[in-house]
Protein backbone atom coordinates (compact mmCIF):
# COMPACT_ATOMS: atom_id res chain seq x y z
CA UNK A 1 0.00 0.00 0.00
CA UNK A 2 2.76 2.46 0.92
CA UNK A 3 4.59 2.24 -2.45
CA UNK A 4 1.24 2.75 -4.18
CA UNK A 5 0.56 5.85 -2.06
CA UNK A 6 3.99 7.17 -2.99
CA UNK A 7 3.21 6.76 -6.67
CA UNK A 8 -0.01 8.70 -6.21
CA UNK A 9 1.82 11.51 -4.40
CA UNK A 10 4.46 11.65 -7.12
CA UNK A 11 1.69 11.90 -9.68
CA UNK A 12 0.07 14.73 -7.70
CA UNK A 13 3.31 16.75 -7.81
CA UNK A 14 3.55 16.33 -11.51
CA UNK A 15 -0.08 16.40 -12.60
CA UNK A 16 -2.06 18.14 -9.87
CA UNK A 17 -0.04 20.96 -8.34
CA UNK A 18 -2.36 23.19 -6.30
CA UNK A 19 -1.01 26.74 -6.30
CA UNK A 20 -4.12 28.37 -4.90
CA UNK A 21 -4.36 25.88 -2.04
CA UNK A 22 -0.62 26.27 -1.44
CA UNK A 23 -1.09 30.03 -1.10
CA UNK A 24 -3.19 29.54 2.03
CA UNK A 25 -1.21 26.71 3.68
CA UNK A 26 1.50 27.59 6.12
CA UNK A 27 5.10 27.79 4.79
CA UNK A 28 4.36 26.93 1.14
CA UNK A 29 4.82 30.54 0.01
CA UNK A 30 7.90 31.02 2.17
CA UNK A 31 9.55 27.93 0.75
CA UNK A 32 8.25 28.55 -2.72
CA UNK A 33 7.22 24.92 -2.91
CA UNK A 34 3.78 23.56 -3.79
CA UNK A 35 1.80 21.76 -1.07
CA UNK A 36 1.79 18.57 -3.14
CA UNK A 37 5.60 18.70 -3.29
CA UNK A 38 6.10 19.06 0.44
CA UNK A 39 6.12 22.86 0.83
CA UNK A 40 3.80 22.89 3.87
CA UNK A 41 4.90 22.97 7.50
CA UNK A 42 2.84 19.84 8.20
CA UNK A 43 3.03 17.21 5.47
CA UNK A 44 0.38 14.78 6.59
CA UNK A 45 -1.13 12.04 4.46
CA UNK A 46 -4.37 10.44 5.48
CA UNK A 47 -5.35 6.83 5.02
CA UNK A 48 -8.93 5.79 5.57
CA UNK A 49 -9.97 2.70 7.47
CA UNK A 50 -12.97 0.96 6.01
CA UNK A 51 -14.87 -1.98 7.55
CA UNK A 52 -13.87 -1.48 11.17
CA UNK A 53 -17.41 -2.62 12.11
CA UNK A 54 -17.01 -5.74 9.94
CA UNK A 55 -13.76 -6.57 11.70
CA UNK A 56 -15.33 -6.18 15.13
CA UNK A 57 -18.34 -8.28 14.12
CA UNK A 58 -16.17 -10.94 12.48
CA UNK A 59 -13.80 -11.30 15.40
CA UNK A 60 -16.70 -11.27 17.86
CA UNK A 61 -18.30 -14.14 15.94
CA UNK A 62 -15.05 -16.14 15.90
CA UNK A 63 -14.47 -15.51 19.59
CA UNK A 64 -17.99 -16.35 20.65
CA UNK A 65 -18.80 -19.33 18.43
CA UNK A 66 -15.41 -20.94 17.77
CA UNK A 67 -13.53 -20.28 21.01
CA UNK A 68 -16.13 -19.70 23.72
CA UNK A 69 -19.10 -21.84 22.83
CA UNK A 70 -17.24 -24.16 20.44
CA UNK A 71 -20.38 -24.46 18.31
CA UNK A 72 -18.36 -24.49 15.13
CA UNK A 73 -14.70 -25.23 14.49
CA UNK A 74 -12.28 -22.83 12.87
CA UNK A 75 -12.02 -25.28 9.95
CA UNK A 76 -15.77 -25.31 9.41
CA UNK A 77 -15.92 -21.54 9.41
CA UNK A 78 -13.02 -21.31 6.96
CA UNK A 79 -14.68 -23.78 4.59
CA UNK A 80 -17.93 -21.82 4.84
CA UNK A 81 -16.10 -18.59 3.97
CA UNK A 82 -14.30 -20.21 1.01
CA UNK A 83 -17.67 -21.47 -0.25
CA UNK A 84 -19.26 -18.03 0.31
CA UNK A 85 -21.57 -19.77 2.84
CA UNK A 86 -23.26 -21.76 0.04
CA UNK A 87 -24.30 -25.05 1.64
CA UNK A 88 -23.32 -23.64 5.05
CA UNK A 89 -26.53 -21.82 5.86
CA UNK A 90 -26.50 -22.92 9.50
CA UNK A 91 -22.98 -21.55 10.00
CA UNK A 92 -24.04 -18.28 8.38
CA UNK A 93 -27.16 -18.06 10.56
CA UNK A 94 -25.04 -18.65 13.66
CA UNK A 95 -22.50 -15.93 12.90
CA UNK A 96 -25.28 -13.54 11.93
CA UNK A 97 -27.67 -14.15 14.81
CA UNK A 98 -25.81 -15.80 17.66
CA UNK A 99 -22.88 -13.46 18.05
CA UNK A 100 -22.98 -9.85 19.31
CA UNK A 101 -22.38 -6.96 16.92
CA UNK A 102 -20.61 -3.60 16.92
CA UNK A 103 -22.94 -0.65 17.51
CA UNK A 104 -25.01 -2.14 20.33
CA UNK A 105 -23.04 -0.64 23.21
CA UNK A 106 -21.40 -3.95 24.10
CA UNK A 107 -18.02 -3.01 25.51
CA UNK A 108 -15.97 -6.05 24.46
CA UNK A 109 -17.26 -6.04 20.89
CA UNK A 110 -16.70 -2.31 20.46
CA UNK A 111 -13.22 -2.77 21.94
CA UNK A 112 -12.35 -5.21 19.15
CA UNK A 113 -12.94 -2.48 16.58
CA UNK A 114 -10.86 0.02 18.53
CA UNK A 115 -8.05 -2.45 19.12
CA UNK A 116 -7.49 -3.30 15.46
CA UNK A 117 -7.94 0.26 14.31
CA UNK A 118 -5.15 1.20 16.72
CA UNK A 119 -3.06 -1.68 15.43
CA UNK A 120 -3.35 -0.33 11.89
CA UNK A 121 -2.54 3.19 13.02
CA UNK A 122 0.52 1.94 14.94
CA UNK A 123 1.80 0.13 11.86
CA UNK A 124 1.52 3.31 9.84
CA UNK A 125 3.79 5.21 12.23
CA UNK A 126 6.69 3.17 10.86
CA UNK A 127 6.37 4.89 7.50
CA UNK A 128 6.90 8.37 6.15
CA UNK A 129 5.09 9.66 3.10
CA UNK A 130 6.81 10.84 -0.06
CA UNK A 131 6.95 14.40 1.27
CA UNK A 132 8.63 13.21 4.45
CA UNK A 133 5.53 13.67 6.63
CA UNK A 134 3.64 11.15 8.79
CA UNK A 135 0.65 9.08 7.84
CA UNK A 136 -2.46 9.44 9.94
CA UNK A 137 -5.82 7.75 9.79
CA UNK A 138 -9.41 8.58 9.12
CA UNK A 139 -12.60 6.57 9.29
CA UNK A 140 -14.79 7.57 6.42
CA UNK A 141 -15.72 5.74 3.29
CA UNK A 142 -17.67 8.33 1.28
CA UNK A 143 -19.08 5.63 -1.02
CA UNK A 144 -15.96 3.43 -1.27
CA UNK A 145 -17.43 0.73 0.98
CA UNK A 146 -19.52 -0.37 -2.00
CA UNK A 147 -16.78 -0.95 -4.65
CA UNK A 148 -14.30 -2.08 -1.99
CA UNK A 149 -16.81 -4.61 -0.75
CA UNK A 150 -16.86 -6.06 -4.25
CA UNK A 151 -13.23 -7.05 -3.78
CA UNK A 152 -13.60 -8.62 -0.35
CA UNK A 153 -14.60 -12.26 0.05
CA UNK A 154 -17.15 -13.59 2.52
CA UNK A 155 -16.40 -12.48 6.09
CA UNK A 156 -16.99 -14.26 9.42
CA UNK A 157 -19.73 -11.78 10.32
CA UNK A 158 -21.96 -13.46 7.74
CA UNK A 159 -21.41 -10.90 5.00
CA UNK A 160 -21.35 -12.53 1.57
CA UNK A 161 -18.52 -12.00 -0.91
CA UNK A 162 -18.92 -8.78 -2.85
CA UNK A 163 -21.51 -7.23 -0.53
CA UNK A 164 -20.85 -3.66 0.69
CA UNK A 165 -18.71 -3.18 3.78
CA UNK A 166 -19.94 -1.15 6.74
CA UNK A 167 -20.82 2.32 5.52
CA UNK A 168 -19.55 5.60 6.83
CA UNK A 169 -16.36 4.41 8.43
CA UNK A 170 -17.55 4.61 12.02
CA UNK A 171 -21.07 3.32 11.42
CA UNK A 172 -22.18 -0.16 12.47
CA UNK A 173 -23.10 -2.55 9.68
CA UNK A 174 -26.62 -1.52 8.75
CA UNK A 175 -29.39 -3.64 10.19
CA UNK A 176 -27.15 -4.91 12.96
CA UNK A 177 -27.56 -1.98 15.33
CA UNK A 178 -30.61 -3.36 17.12
CA UNK A 179 -30.42 -1.30 20.31
CA UNK A 180 -31.29 1.99 18.66
CA UNK A 181 -29.45 5.25 18.00
CA UNK A 182 -28.33 5.96 21.57
CA UNK A 183 -26.47 2.65 21.68
CA UNK A 184 -24.87 3.48 18.32
CA UNK A 185 -23.54 6.77 19.65
CA UNK A 186 -22.23 5.06 22.78
CA UNK A 187 -20.42 2.41 20.72
CA UNK A 188 -18.98 4.91 18.27
CA UNK A 189 -17.84 7.15 21.12
CA UNK A 190 -15.55 4.31 22.22
CA UNK A 191 -13.45 4.84 19.09
CA UNK A 192 -10.54 7.02 20.17
CA UNK A 193 -10.62 10.34 18.31
CA UNK A 194 -6.94 10.01 17.51
CA UNK A 195 -8.05 7.35 15.03
CA UNK A 196 -10.04 9.92 13.09
CA UNK A 197 -7.53 12.76 12.90
CA UNK A 198 -8.04 12.62 9.12
CA UNK A 199 -11.83 12.67 9.57
CA UNK A 200 -14.54 10.30 10.61
CA UNK A 201 -18.02 9.64 9.35
CA UNK A 202 -21.14 8.29 10.97
CA UNK A 203 -24.34 7.86 8.99
CA UNK A 204 -27.75 7.77 10.61
CA UNK A 205 -31.17 7.67 9.03
CA UNK A 206 -34.33 8.92 10.74
CA UNK A 207 -37.92 8.71 9.60
CA UNK A 208 -39.66 12.03 8.82
CA UNK A 209 -42.44 11.20 11.31
CA UNK A 210 -39.96 11.61 14.10
CA UNK A 211 -39.88 15.35 13.40
CA UNK A 212 -43.65 15.75 13.08
CA UNK A 213 -44.17 17.01 16.62
CA UNK A 214 -42.54 19.71 18.69
CA UNK A 215 -41.56 17.14 21.28
CA UNK A 216 -39.95 14.97 18.58
CA UNK A 217 -37.81 17.93 17.54
CA UNK A 218 -36.88 18.64 21.16
CA UNK A 219 -35.92 15.01 21.67
CA UNK A 220 -33.75 15.12 18.59
CA UNK A 221 -32.04 18.21 20.04
CA UNK A 222 -31.31 16.26 23.25
CA UNK A 223 -29.89 13.48 21.13
CA UNK A 224 -27.58 15.94 19.36
CA UNK A 225 -26.45 17.52 22.63
CA UNK A 226 -25.47 14.12 23.93
CA UNK A 227 -23.65 13.45 20.67
CA UNK A 228 -21.56 16.54 21.46
CA UNK A 229 -21.04 15.43 25.08
CA UNK A 230 -19.78 12.07 23.83
CA UNK A 231 -17.15 13.86 21.72
CA UNK A 232 -17.90 12.01 18.52
CA UNK A 233 -16.21 13.81 15.62
CA UNK A 234 -19.00 13.54 13.08
CA UNK A 235 -22.53 12.44 12.35
CA UNK A 236 -24.80 13.10 9.40
CA UNK A 237 -28.47 12.37 9.01
CA UNK A 238 -30.79 11.37 6.28
CA UNK A 239 -34.41 12.04 7.15
CA UNK A 240 -36.21 9.86 4.69
CA UNK A 241 -38.65 7.07 4.34
CA UNK A 242 -37.34 3.83 2.85
CA UNK A 243 -40.40 3.50 0.61
CA UNK A 244 -39.75 6.93 -0.89
CA UNK A 245 -36.24 5.90 -1.84
CA UNK A 246 -37.48 2.66 -3.38
CA UNK A 247 -40.05 4.65 -5.36
CA UNK A 248 -37.37 7.12 -6.45
CA UNK A 249 -35.17 4.31 -7.69
CA UNK A 250 -38.07 2.95 -9.71
CA UNK A 251 -39.40 6.23 -11.06
CA UNK A 252 -36.44 8.63 -11.03
CA UNK A 253 -38.26 11.20 -13.17
CA UNK A 254 -40.67 11.90 -10.30
CA UNK A 255 -37.95 12.33 -7.71
CA UNK A 256 -35.32 14.48 -9.42
CA UNK A 257 -35.29 16.88 -6.48
CA UNK A 258 -34.79 14.24 -3.77
CA UNK A 259 -31.46 14.82 -2.06
CA UNK A 260 -29.58 12.55 0.31
CA UNK A 261 -26.45 12.92 2.37
CA UNK A 262 -23.76 10.62 1.04
CA UNK A 263 -20.57 11.65 2.80
CA UNK A 264 -19.72 15.23 3.50
CA UNK A 265 -21.80 16.17 0.52
CA UNK A 266 -25.40 16.10 -0.56
CA UNK A 267 -26.32 14.34 -3.77
CA UNK A 268 -29.39 13.93 -5.90
CA UNK A 269 -30.53 10.41 -5.11
CA UNK A 270 -31.59 9.63 -8.67
CA UNK A 271 -28.10 10.42 -9.97
CA UNK A 272 -26.35 7.91 -7.73
CA UNK A 273 -25.14 4.52 -8.85
CA UNK A 274 -27.76 1.79 -8.36
CA UNK A 275 -25.61 -0.11 -5.88
CA UNK A 276 -25.06 2.98 -3.77
CA UNK A 277 -28.81 3.64 -3.93
CA UNK A 278 -29.48 0.15 -2.58
CA UNK A 279 -26.94 0.69 0.13
CA UNK A 280 -28.57 3.95 1.30
CA UNK A 281 -31.99 2.25 1.26
CA UNK A 282 -30.64 -0.53 3.45
CA UNK A 283 -29.26 1.76 6.19
CA UNK A 284 -31.08 1.28 9.48
CA UNK A 285 -34.02 3.64 9.96
CA UNK A 286 -34.86 5.11 13.34
CA UNK A 287 -38.40 6.17 13.96
CA UNK A 288 -40.45 6.78 17.00
CA UNK A 289 -39.80 3.83 19.21
Amino acid sequence: MIPACEEVEKAHIELLPSPFLSAVIQDCMKAGVDVTAGGAKYNLSGIQMIQVANIADSLAAVWQLVYQEKRITGGELLTALCDNFVGHEVVRALVQHKAPKFGNDIAWVDALGTKWAHYFREKLTQYKNYRGGPYHTGMYTVSAHVPMGENVGATPDGRLAGEPLADGGMSPVYGRDCKGPTAVLQSVSKLDNVLTSNGGLLNMKFLPEFFATQSGIEKFAMFLRTFVDLKIPHVQFNVLRGEDLLAAKKNPEKYRGLTVRVAGYTAYFTELDGKLQDEIIARTEYGSL
Binding site: K98, P181, T182, M222, R225, S288
Partner: protein, 307 residues
Protein backbone atom coordinates in the same frame (compact mmCIF):
# COMPACT_ATOMS: atom_id res chain seq x y z
CA UNK B 1 -33.69 -4.29 49.72
CA UNK B 2 -30.47 -5.55 48.21
CA UNK B 3 -30.88 -5.08 44.48
CA UNK B 4 -30.76 -8.87 44.19
CA UNK B 5 -34.54 -9.13 43.73
CA UNK B 6 -35.23 -10.97 40.51
CA UNK B 7 -37.90 -10.02 38.05
CA UNK B 8 -39.07 -11.15 34.65
CA UNK B 9 -38.72 -8.62 31.85
CA UNK B 10 -39.55 -9.01 28.19
CA UNK B 11 -37.74 -6.05 26.68
CA UNK B 12 -35.52 -3.09 27.36
CA UNK B 13 -35.96 -0.40 24.76
CA UNK B 14 -33.58 2.49 24.52
CA UNK B 15 -34.41 5.76 22.76
CA UNK B 16 -38.02 5.42 23.81
CA UNK B 17 -39.75 8.60 22.76
CA UNK B 18 -43.40 7.96 23.63
CA UNK B 19 -43.13 6.96 27.26
CA UNK B 20 -42.54 10.23 29.06
CA UNK B 21 -40.35 13.32 28.92
CA UNK B 22 -37.07 13.37 27.01
CA UNK B 23 -35.05 10.42 25.82
CA UNK B 24 -35.89 7.38 27.89
CA UNK B 25 -35.15 3.73 28.31
CA UNK B 26 -38.24 1.64 28.85
CA UNK B 27 -38.18 -1.60 30.81
CA UNK B 28 -41.07 -3.92 29.98
CA UNK B 29 -42.10 -5.97 33.00
CA UNK B 30 -43.92 -9.21 32.27
CA UNK B 31 -47.32 -10.30 33.50
CA UNK B 32 -50.71 -8.59 33.60
CA UNK B 33 -54.01 -9.49 35.22
CA UNK B 34 -56.05 -7.77 32.51
CA UNK B 35 -56.81 -9.26 29.09
CA UNK B 36 -57.59 -6.17 27.06
CA UNK B 37 -58.89 -7.21 23.67
CA UNK B 38 -56.58 -4.65 21.98
CA UNK B 39 -53.46 -5.27 24.10
CA UNK B 40 -50.44 -3.73 22.34
CA UNK B 41 -47.96 -5.99 24.09
CA UNK B 42 -49.65 -9.40 24.19
CA UNK B 43 -46.22 -10.95 24.72
CA UNK B 44 -46.27 -9.22 28.11
CA UNK B 45 -49.45 -10.81 29.44
CA UNK B 46 -48.32 -14.28 30.58
CA UNK B 47 -46.39 -14.22 33.88
CA UNK B 48 -43.85 -16.83 32.80
CA UNK B 49 -41.14 -17.05 30.12
CA UNK B 50 -42.45 -18.53 26.89
CA UNK B 51 -40.95 -19.72 23.67
CA UNK B 52 -41.72 -17.37 20.79
CA UNK B 53 -41.27 -17.81 17.06
CA UNK B 54 -40.11 -14.88 14.93
CA UNK B 55 -40.56 -16.18 11.40
CA UNK B 56 -38.52 -13.48 9.62
CA UNK B 57 -35.04 -14.98 9.72
CA UNK B 58 -35.95 -18.70 9.80
CA UNK B 59 -33.75 -20.63 7.38
CA UNK B 60 -35.81 -23.84 7.69
CA UNK B 61 -32.72 -25.79 8.71
CA UNK B 62 -34.86 -28.27 10.63
CA UNK B 63 -32.54 -28.51 13.64
CA UNK B 64 -35.43 -27.75 16.01
CA UNK B 65 -37.52 -30.60 14.59
CA UNK B 66 -34.96 -33.06 15.99
CA UNK B 67 -35.71 -32.02 19.59
CA UNK B 68 -37.54 -34.84 21.40
CA UNK B 69 -40.54 -32.65 22.32
CA UNK B 70 -41.57 -32.70 18.68
CA UNK B 71 -43.18 -29.28 18.96
CA UNK B 72 -41.98 -28.01 15.58
CA UNK B 73 -42.41 -29.39 12.10
CA UNK B 74 -41.75 -28.18 8.60
CA UNK B 75 -44.30 -28.52 5.85
CA UNK B 76 -44.77 -26.61 2.59
CA UNK B 77 -41.72 -24.49 3.26
CA UNK B 78 -43.09 -23.27 6.59
CA UNK B 79 -42.21 -24.01 10.17
CA UNK B 80 -45.04 -24.58 12.59
CA UNK B 81 -44.73 -24.50 16.35
CA UNK B 82 -47.12 -26.22 18.74
CA UNK B 83 -46.59 -24.46 22.06
CA UNK B 84 -48.59 -27.14 23.91
CA UNK B 85 -45.91 -29.72 23.13
CA UNK B 86 -42.94 -27.63 24.24
CA UNK B 87 -41.33 -29.17 27.33
CA UNK B 88 -37.85 -27.68 27.12
CA UNK B 89 -38.31 -24.15 25.74
CA UNK B 90 -34.72 -23.10 26.42
CA UNK B 91 -33.46 -25.98 24.32
CA UNK B 92 -35.24 -24.55 21.29
CA UNK B 93 -33.64 -21.19 21.87
CA UNK B 94 -30.17 -22.71 22.13
CA UNK B 95 -30.67 -24.96 19.12
CA UNK B 96 -32.07 -22.41 16.66
CA UNK B 97 -29.10 -20.92 14.76
CA UNK B 98 -31.10 -18.02 13.33
CA UNK B 99 -32.55 -16.89 16.68
CA UNK B 100 -36.07 -17.19 15.27
CA UNK B 101 -37.06 -19.43 18.17
CA UNK B 102 -36.24 -17.62 21.35
CA UNK B 103 -37.48 -17.02 24.85
CA UNK B 104 -39.70 -13.96 25.00
CA UNK B 105 -38.39 -12.80 28.36
CA UNK B 106 -35.64 -13.22 30.91
CA UNK B 107 -35.13 -13.12 34.67
CA UNK B 108 -32.65 -10.61 35.95
CA UNK B 109 -31.81 -8.81 39.16
CA UNK B 110 -32.90 -5.26 39.83
CA UNK B 111 -29.27 -4.29 40.21
CA UNK B 112 -28.28 -5.62 36.77
CA UNK B 113 -31.21 -3.95 35.07
CA UNK B 114 -30.45 -0.63 36.68
CA UNK B 115 -26.88 -0.91 35.47
CA UNK B 116 -28.08 -1.68 31.95
CA UNK B 117 -30.51 1.24 31.90
CA UNK B 118 -27.90 3.64 33.27
CA UNK B 119 -25.77 3.04 30.17
CA UNK B 120 -27.84 5.78 28.53
CA UNK B 121 -27.34 8.16 31.38
CA UNK B 122 -25.46 10.64 29.15
CA UNK B 123 -28.76 11.08 27.27
CA UNK B 124 -30.90 11.34 30.42
CA UNK B 125 -28.88 14.39 31.50
CA UNK B 126 -30.67 16.49 28.90
CA UNK B 127 -34.11 15.51 30.20
CA UNK B 128 -35.15 11.91 30.19
CA UNK B 129 -34.90 8.83 32.31
CA UNK B 130 -36.37 5.42 32.80
CA UNK B 131 -39.93 4.22 32.21
CA UNK B 132 -41.31 1.03 33.66
CA UNK B 133 -43.97 -0.45 31.44
CA UNK B 134 -45.39 -3.85 30.71
CA UNK B 135 -47.33 -5.98 31.03
CA UNK B 136 -48.26 -4.34 34.26
CA UNK B 137 -45.33 -3.15 36.41
CA UNK B 138 -47.29 -3.77 39.62
CA UNK B 139 -47.88 -7.37 38.62
CA UNK B 140 -44.34 -7.80 39.99
CA UNK B 141 -44.82 -5.11 42.62
CA UNK B 142 -41.83 -5.92 44.86
CA UNK B 143 -39.50 -6.01 41.91
CA UNK B 144 -40.90 -2.76 40.51
CA UNK B 145 -40.48 -1.11 43.89
CA UNK B 146 -36.89 -2.34 44.13
CA UNK B 147 -36.14 -0.92 40.67
CA UNK B 148 -37.75 2.42 41.46
CA UNK B 149 -35.81 2.80 44.69
CA UNK B 150 -32.52 2.05 42.95
CA UNK B 151 -33.29 4.47 40.12
CA UNK B 152 -34.16 7.26 42.53
CA UNK B 153 -31.02 6.52 44.50
CA UNK B 154 -29.08 6.96 41.26
CA UNK B 155 -30.88 10.27 40.64
CA UNK B 156 -32.73 9.15 37.53
CA UNK B 157 -36.15 10.50 36.52
CA UNK B 158 -38.71 7.69 36.78
CA UNK B 159 -42.00 7.11 34.97
CA UNK B 160 -44.39 4.20 35.34
CA UNK B 161 -47.09 3.13 32.90
CA UNK B 162 -49.73 1.25 34.84
CA UNK B 163 -53.32 0.05 34.60
CA UNK B 164 -53.55 0.54 38.40
CA UNK B 165 -54.86 -3.01 38.56
CA UNK B 166 -53.15 -3.80 41.85
CA UNK B 167 -53.65 -3.53 45.60
CA UNK B 168 -53.52 0.11 46.65
CA UNK B 169 -50.86 -0.55 49.33
CA UNK B 170 -48.43 -1.62 46.59
CA UNK B 171 -49.12 1.51 44.61
CA UNK B 172 -48.87 3.65 47.72
CA UNK B 173 -45.45 2.36 48.69
CA UNK B 174 -44.13 3.09 45.19
CA UNK B 175 -45.61 6.57 44.72
CA UNK B 176 -42.79 8.47 46.46
CA UNK B 177 -40.34 7.01 43.93
CA UNK B 178 -42.36 7.82 40.79
CA UNK B 179 -41.86 11.16 39.06
CA UNK B 180 -44.55 10.58 36.44
CA UNK B 181 -47.31 8.03 36.78
CA UNK B 182 -49.12 7.31 33.53
CA UNK B 183 -52.35 5.79 34.78
CA UNK B 184 -54.49 4.07 32.17
CA UNK B 185 -58.20 4.56 32.56
CA UNK B 186 -59.78 2.72 29.71
CA UNK B 187 -63.50 2.29 30.25
CA UNK B 188 -65.68 4.05 32.81
CA UNK B 189 -68.57 1.60 32.78
CA UNK B 190 -67.91 -1.36 35.06
CA UNK B 191 -69.68 -4.01 32.99
CA UNK B 192 -68.22 -2.83 29.68
CA UNK B 193 -64.78 -2.77 31.28
CA UNK B 194 -65.15 -6.37 32.34
CA UNK B 195 -66.31 -7.39 28.88
CA UNK B 196 -63.34 -5.75 27.18
CA UNK B 197 -60.57 -6.48 29.66
CA UNK B 198 -61.71 -9.57 31.58
CA UNK B 199 -61.99 -7.68 34.87
CA UNK B 200 -64.34 -5.06 36.20
CA UNK B 201 -62.86 -1.66 37.01
CA UNK B 202 -63.76 -1.27 40.69
CA UNK B 203 -60.21 -1.64 41.95
CA UNK B 204 -58.81 0.54 39.17
CA UNK B 205 -61.41 3.28 39.72
CA UNK B 206 -60.85 3.16 43.44
CA UNK B 207 -57.07 3.37 43.06
CA UNK B 208 -57.29 6.23 40.59
CA UNK B 209 -59.49 8.23 42.92
CA UNK B 210 -57.07 7.64 45.79
CA UNK B 211 -54.04 8.58 43.72
CA UNK B 212 -55.74 11.73 42.42
CA UNK B 213 -56.56 12.68 46.02
CA UNK B 214 -53.03 12.01 47.27
CA UNK B 215 -50.15 14.50 47.59
CA UNK B 216 -48.70 12.89 44.43
CA UNK B 217 -51.60 13.82 42.17
CA UNK B 218 -49.63 16.37 40.19
CA UNK B 219 -47.32 13.62 39.07
CA UNK B 220 -50.16 11.71 37.46
CA UNK B 221 -51.16 11.69 33.79
CA UNK B 222 -54.38 9.80 33.15
CA UNK B 223 -54.40 8.13 29.74
CA UNK B 224 -57.05 6.52 27.61
CA UNK B 225 -56.01 4.46 24.59
CA UNK B 226 -58.46 5.14 21.77
CA UNK B 227 -59.82 1.80 20.61
CA UNK B 228 -62.62 2.07 18.04
CA UNK B 229 -65.93 0.93 19.52
CA UNK B 230 -64.39 0.06 22.89
CA UNK B 231 -62.97 3.19 24.48
CA UNK B 232 -63.28 5.79 21.73
CA UNK B 233 -66.93 6.66 22.24
CA UNK B 234 -68.35 10.00 23.26
CA UNK B 235 -70.15 8.36 26.14
CA UNK B 236 -67.07 6.68 27.54
CA UNK B 237 -64.69 9.61 27.16
CA UNK B 238 -67.24 11.98 28.71
CA UNK B 239 -67.82 9.65 31.64
CA UNK B 240 -64.08 9.22 32.26
CA UNK B 241 -63.40 12.94 32.06
CA UNK B 242 -66.31 13.92 34.28
CA UNK B 243 -65.12 11.46 36.87
CA UNK B 244 -61.43 12.32 36.93
CA UNK B 245 -61.97 16.09 36.80
CA UNK B 246 -64.38 15.80 39.73
CA UNK B 247 -61.70 13.98 41.72
CA UNK B 248 -59.05 16.52 40.77
CA UNK B 249 -59.92 19.54 38.62
CA UNK B 250 -56.27 20.06 37.59
CA UNK B 251 -55.82 16.46 36.46
CA UNK B 252 -53.62 15.94 33.41
CA UNK B 253 -55.19 13.82 30.69
CA UNK B 254 -53.88 12.33 27.45
CA UNK B 255 -55.53 10.42 24.64
CA UNK B 256 -53.45 7.80 22.88
CA UNK B 257 -54.27 7.32 19.23
CA UNK B 258 -55.24 3.84 18.10
CA UNK B 259 -52.19 1.85 16.99
CA UNK B 260 -53.01 -0.53 14.14
CA UNK B 261 -49.50 -2.04 14.23
CA UNK B 262 -50.29 -4.10 17.33
CA UNK B 263 -52.38 -6.55 15.31
CA UNK B 264 -49.30 -7.97 13.61
CA UNK B 265 -48.02 -9.22 16.98
CA UNK B 266 -50.93 -11.63 17.29
CA UNK B 267 -49.86 -13.89 14.42
CA UNK B 268 -48.19 -16.30 16.83
CA UNK B 269 -50.16 -15.58 19.97
CA UNK B 270 -52.64 -17.68 21.85
CA UNK B 271 -54.87 -14.62 22.28
CA UNK B 272 -57.14 -13.18 19.63
CA UNK B 273 -56.99 -9.52 18.60
CA UNK B 274 -60.09 -7.39 18.92
CA UNK B 275 -60.46 -6.68 15.20
CA UNK B 276 -60.40 -9.33 12.47
CA UNK B 277 -60.49 -6.43 10.02
CA UNK B 278 -58.07 -3.79 11.27
CA UNK B 279 -59.04 -0.14 11.82
CA UNK B 280 -57.10 2.93 10.71
CA UNK B 281 -55.51 5.36 13.13
CA UNK B 282 -57.55 8.47 13.91
CA UNK B 283 -56.96 11.58 11.84
CA UNK B 284 -55.89 14.85 13.37
CA UNK B 285 -59.44 16.16 13.03
CA UNK B 286 -60.86 13.11 14.80
CA UNK B 287 -58.29 13.46 17.58
CA UNK B 288 -59.22 17.10 18.00
CA UNK B 289 -62.86 16.06 18.30
CA UNK B 290 -61.98 13.55 21.05
CA UNK B 291 -60.08 16.24 22.91
CA UNK B 292 -63.05 18.56 22.52
CA UNK B 293 -65.23 15.93 24.20
CA UNK B 294 -62.71 15.65 27.03
CA UNK B 295 -62.62 19.42 27.50
CA UNK B 296 -66.38 19.80 27.55
CA UNK B 297 -66.53 17.04 30.16
CA UNK B 298 -64.46 19.18 32.49
CA UNK B 299 -60.76 18.29 31.91
CA UNK B 300 -58.70 21.44 31.54
CA UNK B 301 -55.18 20.11 31.34
CA UNK B 302 -55.00 18.14 28.10
CA UNK B 303 -51.72 16.68 26.88
CA UNK B 304 -52.00 17.17 23.14
CA UNK B 305 -48.42 17.07 21.96
CA UNK B 306 -48.96 14.17 19.59
CA UNK B 307 -51.42 16.26 17.56
Amino acid sequence: MSGQEKGLIFDIRRFSTHDGAGLRTTVFIKGCALRCAWCQNPEGIAPNPQLAYFAGDCILCGLCTKIADGATSIADGKLSLDLQKVRQPELYEVTCPAATLRMDSRYDTAENLVEEVLRDRPFFRHGGGVTLSGGEPFFQAEFTLALLRLFKKAGVHTAVESSLCTAFEKLESALPYIDTLFADYKIADCALHEKATGMDNRQITDNLEKVLSSPYRDRVVVRTPLIPGYTATTENLSAICRRISAWYPKVRYELLNYNPLAKAKYAHMEYAYCFAENKPIYTKAQMQEFYRIARSAGVKHLMMDAL
